[in-house]
């Protein structure tokens, strides 16, 4: 243990400079995520000890420059300047740069030199540079830049000791000085500084002048009034007249300085060698081959999410079912047992069941991003997505949402533009996820069966396929339309810059991929889990209470009696000889009668529960959809998780929770109950109306919880819930009313 004060070190670099690799290599598993109020960025913080000193490491988001354009980008700048209350001002700033692209990466370094803090330059990927024939004289580079320079191979852990030693010796030294700007520029900075006073650090005054319409300008014009705006315009006008127009003056000054340093320290081969990236890109960004590879890859991802995750999810469901049964066996019946079995175990299972899909998708995202393909995918799909006001980066989140919106929404982090990211998050749940599939297939099988010996009045062989296709199309068509609408109304704003770097291809490391998968899974369980769990328990309570029928007899007692009767009949069945048949038949009928009676009591319980009463009260609201109050109650009960709607319908129609593969029993029960109402006359429009409702409705509390986590407030999940429920209601209404007219016309 040490008694000295820990050293705060900030890691800054361009995206793909290897910043996260360095951060993970230095801090190992001692990491946590720092959140900042009012913004959606997260920064990782890690800790390690070396030479008796504790290092507090902050990993800033990858950036090309300190020119902040949004509150999110400003957090990084404020953090570096010690202007955030949550973090101390960094003692040392580590600028990590790519050895194969020093000319560009050192631009950011030159901005960091203006912060007035000691800087260490870590030159990463020196092995790749050497392979390309780039030779770097590190001493000369350090001399030219005026700060210590450390060569590094972060992915192999080479140079880490030298880096920590250099950070230690650099802490507390005189801050370096960056490139010199033209005198005209410095004069304007001095004038503005005098105007604004000492509260605004010099580096921000420079950004105010340089970043036209940037965040610093918005902020200071907001606090100092429009007078500052006029002043700025005049100053920029004078600079343009003097041949130092912003922002060009910054690029010229900094790149001139960088060129000079690089010329003195770096020797490059005269002819640029053909790299692996050149060769791979010839195929992967090719109009034909690139597109083919892309779709093949997406098919693979989709298949893995859809099919690969299923056995794991089934295993998890079985496991929780088994635990539930085991607990049921050892506990006396009553509210506590039901809370633990249906509420707690069911609730935890409802959270854990999403983990396979989240981890599989994040495994793919990590591989695609780390190897550099993600940017190519965005490049290939950009034009298509631009038609709905988004960019290519929204494609993978949207596609993943066809499997499950939760990993899809979590993967929108690759979208830097806040509005695009929000629009993608808000429409992702419209894509038909895998939880909707069982609802579609069961209702289709029950109400639109294919013509066969069992169903002489069934439909043509292609009807179920077309219905299923139509349900998926609802999502594929509605999501882009809503996105476009949002981008034109609520999320309207200046067209963002879509320029994007296509990084050099790299081999992803298994370690980094596994780390991302585990992080994503853990983040989901920890942040979303509690909300999902609470909702599950809530809906359990709404369906469980009151626990006694109107005569005051507890349902549990009635069920126990029925179970006893069934057990007696079964015992009789075992003892009875094969003859006479009548006696056996009687016992068998007694078993079946007990089952039916149990289903009836369960149905009565649900119907009389608080939720059932609400469903009853809502009957006038759902009547225009062709629904009776039972369907309304089932829809209500499945708001936390849509997949329960089928089981819930089964229970409410007294056929039990397990409705079987083809749902014949449910269909018969529903038809019988519907005989007097609209469903009796129009069973198919009603079934379609339920399906359309499920296709468009936000019946997934997990998605809402993840949305809240990713957007930082309840505002957006609430908005999504309202608009999707409205859309679902209108969609179901139109489906039933049109279906009814069609059915009437067809006689």
């Amino acid at each position: 243990m040490t008694t000295t004060k820990p050293l705060t070190v900030a890691l800054v670099g361009n995206p793909n400079a290897g910043k996260s690799t360095l951060f993970n290599a230095l801090s190992g598993l001692r990491q946590r995520v720092g959140n900042y109020p009012g913004v959606t960025v997260e920064m990782k913080k890690g800790q390690f000890e070396s030479a008796g000193t504790t290092f507090d490491l902050i990993d800033l988001p990858g950036t090309y420059s300190l020119a902040a354009r949004s509150p999110d980008e400003m957090v990084a700048v404020d953090l570096l300047l010690g202007r955030r209350p949550e973090e101390p001002r960094p003692d040392v700033v580590v600028s990590i740069v790519d050895a194969t692209n020093l000319d560009r990466h050192l631009y950011l370094t030159s901005q960091l030199l203006d912060l007035g803090e000691p800087v260490v330059v870590a030159v990463n990927m020196t092995d790749t540079a050497a392979a390309q024939g780039i030779r770097i004289d590190y001493e000369a580079l350090a001399r030219e830049l005026g700060v210590p320079v450390v060569p590094l191979q972060a992915n192999k852990g080479v140079g880490l000791d030298a880096l920590t030693r250099t950070i230690l010796t650099t802490a507390g030294t005189e801050p370096p000085r960056g490139p010199t700007f033209p005198v005209e520029f410095e004069k304007e900075v001095a004038a503005l500084q005098a105007e604004l006073g000492g509260a605004v650090p010099g580096v921000l005054v420079r950004r105010l002048l340089l970043d036209v319409g940037g965040y610093v300008e918005q902020w200071l014009v907001g606090t100092h009034g429009d007078g500052l705006k006029t002043q700025l315009a005049e100053a920029r006008g004078r600079l343009a007249a003097a041949g130092c127009a912003v922002p060009g003056v910054e690029a010229r000054t900094r790149f001139g300085w960088v060129r000079h340093a690089v010329a003195a320290a770096v020797t490059k081969p005269a002819v640029r060698p053909v790299t692996w990236t050149d060769r791979i890109d010839k195929v992967l960004t090719h109009r034909v081959w690139g597109t083919l590879v892309f779709f093949a890859l997406m098919f693979g991802v989709f298949q893995a999410l859809f099919v690969g995750a299923e056995p794991l999810m089934n295993r998890i469901e079985e496991g929780f079912g088994f635990i539930g049964k085991a607990v049921e066996g050892v506990m006396p019946s009553g509210p506590l047992r039901s809370l633990i079995v249906d509420g707690v175990i069911g609730g935890v299972g409802g959270v854990i069941v999403f983990l396979p899909q989240i981890m599989i998708l994040f495994g793919f995202v990590a591989v695609l991003e780390d190897c550099g393909y993600m940017a190519r995918a965005a490049f290939l799909m950009d034009r298509l997505m631009s038609k709905c006001g988004l960019s290519g980066k929204s494609f993978i989140p949207m596609l993943s949402s066809v499997a499950c919106a939760i990993p899809g929404i979590m993967s929108t982090r690759v979208i830097e533009n806040r509005r695009d990211r929000l629009a993608t998050i808000l429409v992702a749940p419209l894509m038909s996820c895998s939880a909707r599939l069982p609802v579609y297939s069961l209702l289709t099988a029950a109400f639109l069966p294919v013509r066969s010996d069992d169903h002489p009045d069934g439909y043509a062989w292609w009807v179920p396929g077309v219905v299923l296709f139509a349900m998926y199309m609802i999502g594929f068509v509605t999501a882009p339309l809503v996105a476009l609408l949002l981008k034109r109304t609520l999320l309207r704003g200046a067209t963002p810059v879509f320029v994007m770097e296509l990084p050099a291809y790299k081999r992803p490391t298994l370690r980094a991929v596994v780390r991302r998968m585990v992080e994503a899974g853990w983040a989901f369980v920890r942040r979303a889990g509690t909300v999902i769990f609470a909702a599950m328990v809530l809906i359990w309570a709404a369906l469980y209470f009151p626990t006694a029928d109107p005569n005051g007899v507890p349902y549990e007692d009635r069920l126990q009696l029925i179970e006893q009767k069934k057990a007696d009949a079964e015992a009789r069945l075992v003892e009875l000889p094969a003859e006479p048949e009548d006696a056996r038949k009687e016992a068998e009928e007694a078993v079946a009668a007990a089952d039916a009676e149990r289903n009836a009591v369960n149905g009565e319980w649900k119907r009389n529960s608080y939720l059932g009463r609400v469903g009853h009260a809502l009957e006038p609201v759902v009547a225009p959809l062709g629904w009776d109050w039972r369907i309304g109650t089932a829809a209500l009960a499945s708001f936390p998780a849509r997949e329960v709607i089928v089981g819930m319908l089964g229970m409410l129609y007294d056929v039990g929770e397990d409705t079987g593969e083809d749902g014949t029993a449910l269909q018969e029960a529903m038809r019988k109950e519907w005989a007097g109402g609209p469903g009796g006359k129009y069973p198919v429009p009603v079934a379609l109306s339920i399906m359309v409702f499920v296709a468009l409705c936000m019946q997934c509390v997990s998605t809402l919880a993840v949305m809240r986590r990713e957007t930082g407030s309840w505002r957006w999940p609430a908005f999504t819930f309202v608009y999707m429920t409205g859309l679902a209601y209108v969609g179901a209404l139109v489906t039933f009313q049109v279906g009814r007219l069609v059915a009437d016309a067809m006689g």
């Binding site: 090309y64 420059s65 020119a67 354009r69 194969t100 692209n101 000319d103 560009r104 631009y107 950011l108 970043d211 036209v212 319409g213 940037g214 922002p247 060009g248 910054e250 690029a251 010229r252 790149f255 640029r272 990236t277 890109d281 960004t285 090719h286 109009r287 034909v288 690139g290 597109t291 940017a375 965005a378 490049f379 290939l380 950009d382 034009r383 298509l384 631009s386 200046a494 067209t495 810059v497 879509f498 320029v499 994007m500 770097e501 296509l502 990084p503 050099a504």
Partner: protein, 75 residues
């Protein structure tokens, strides 16, 4: 004068000037695309937009509308 949006894959040029939205110009500068730099168009996306260009040792993807702000001179 042609712009970066007019070039075909395989064509090279030198950047003459940048215009348009200050945020876009600034981002292009930050990515190393500025006056006097050599650029090469590497590929066009399947629907003809965006374009992939190389500048220095970086590869960038620009939408055509953005590339049209970059005036270039071809040899």
């Amino acid at each position: 004068m042609p712009t970066l949006a007019d070039l075909h894959p395989g064509q090279s040029a030198v950047v003459v000037s940048l215009a348009g939205d200050p945020a876009l110009v600034q981002r292009l500068y930050e990515l190393g695309l500025f006056e006097g730099e050599a650029v090469e168009v590497l590929a066009l996306a399947p629907l003809g937009d965006p374009v992939e260009v190389r500048v220095g040792n970086s590869r960038l993807s620009l939408r055509k509308a953005e590339a049209a702000n970059v005036t270039v001179s071809t040899p």
